[in-house]
Symmetry: C2
Subunit: 251 residues, 2 copies
């Protein structure tokens, strides 16, 4: 049975500070938890609402090697970070050493500057996964990867894609500028751009765009042409459009 102190610890993981002190984070929902289990990521504990478990008897939970606890509806609500708790939740261990990620071979990498919205970050990791990018590099001040909304929005892609945080100028300056593409306003249209076989695709936050120091390191400044009155696109939508042209354009 789950103890009161465990419930308290798990519900505290909504705070970034508590996540980093304990090295633990939560994953909620049947699809994200099953993706977590499939990926081989280190899992500490799986919590399942007992009435749901009795009724559904989900096959994918039958043979798992991880500790599983049945909990009440009330306790699940206390631990959940969602408005309405899902019947399945996992407590997983952060993978610290993986932040020291090194690229291997040719291909594209997404580079994110100061993304502030956790849902957008998860959606962008899912985009990178869909288009077969090698990984995602984030500026140190980008929203925390272990935020439950990021995990949720990525639909399991966070457990597959290499994601690293660090000093972007350092990473970008190692790349040939002709292979660095900055997404900006007022650059050359994305549909006329040749992207080649690999390089870095830079995306800034909606509020601040890309930092000028990063734009300076890019050999190409690229824009998604607009035709209406909207002033901008959502950052995840812009990343998706850019990624589609990088992989599917005639470059």
């Amino acid at each position: 049975m789950i103890s009161k102190s465990q419930i308290k610890l798990i519900s505290s993981l909504k705070l970034k500070k508590e996540r980093y002190e304990s090295g633990l984070f939560t994953v909620e929902g049947e699809k994200p938890v099953s993706e977590l289990v499939k990926s081989g990521w280190p899992v500490e504990l799986i919590l399942v609402r007992s009435d749901w478990f009795e009724k559904e008897r989900p096959v994918w939970l039958k043979d798992i090697q991880t500790n599983m606890e049945l909990v009440s509806h009330h306790d699940m609500e206390r631990m959940s970070q969602l408005n309405s708790a899902s019947p399945v939740m996992a407590v997983a261990r952060m993978k610290q050493p993986d932040w020291q990620w090194q690229r291997g071979g040719d291909g594209f990498v997404l580079v994110l500057d100061r993304l502030a919205d956790p849902g957008n970050l998860g959606t962008i990791i899912r985009i990178a996964d869909w288009f077969g990018f090698q990984g995602v590099l984030c500026s140190s001040d980008t929203v925390d990867f272990y935020n439950s909304k990021t995990i949720q929005a990525s639909m399991g892609s966070v457990f597959r894609m290499p994601v690293a945080y660090g000093e972007l100028t350092e990473w970008i300056s190692k790349e040939d500028p002709q292979r660095v593409f900055a997404t900006v306003l007022g650059g050359s249209p994305v549909n006329g751009q040749k992207f080649g076989t690999g390089g870095l695709l830079l995306i800034g936050s909606e509020a601040h765009g890309l930092h000028p120091d990063l734009i300076r390191l890019a050999g190409h400044k690229v824009t998604i042409p607009g035709f209406g009155a909207a002033e901008s696109l959502n950052a995840a939508v812009a990343a998706g459009i850019m990624a589609s042209w990088v992989k599917l354009g005639t470059g």
Copy 2:
């Protein structure tokens, strides 16, 4: 001064039922409210947090013709539908007759089937605005346009774009099938598709995709090719990618 019953009414507008009974909805945040005012949409009341107003004296609020009330931090929190209330909120009147929208001239229209996420709907309306689509048609069971998350995510585009709800098969069957493009899995790749100068772009929900009856009405089944392990894309991201190829592709 704002009365207790007004506070109660405004905070009840988070419920769809209350919005449709009163014909009112709320708009929160400086950018969305200023876009609302600019658009000429009928506004009943603008609420401004008094301490913020004293400090900021925002120019765009100076000359507005609408009733404006200064309210306390506490009252603003009670009326807000956001986790953390914004200093500006508007109560606006729904535009019922506009749902009977008729297309004029050539161009593209986005058609949304059973979208369930209010944030995605707002993001998609913003995409339609960016790419100069003529309007957005939604199936009757698509999430409510007046949901505060939809308004928020659209960044003002909801006040500019014609959006209509109704029976999609009826609308689509009026169009030449060669000008109807359904976004599906396993269709022809979007980067080889010619879209021409106008028509309908159909997008389904993440959970259910497009209804088979709608796919049957489309002359073209189009897919965003994937290269990695993700099973799908976020519906707004897919809409953004498709819209970019419709407008910027070589078709």
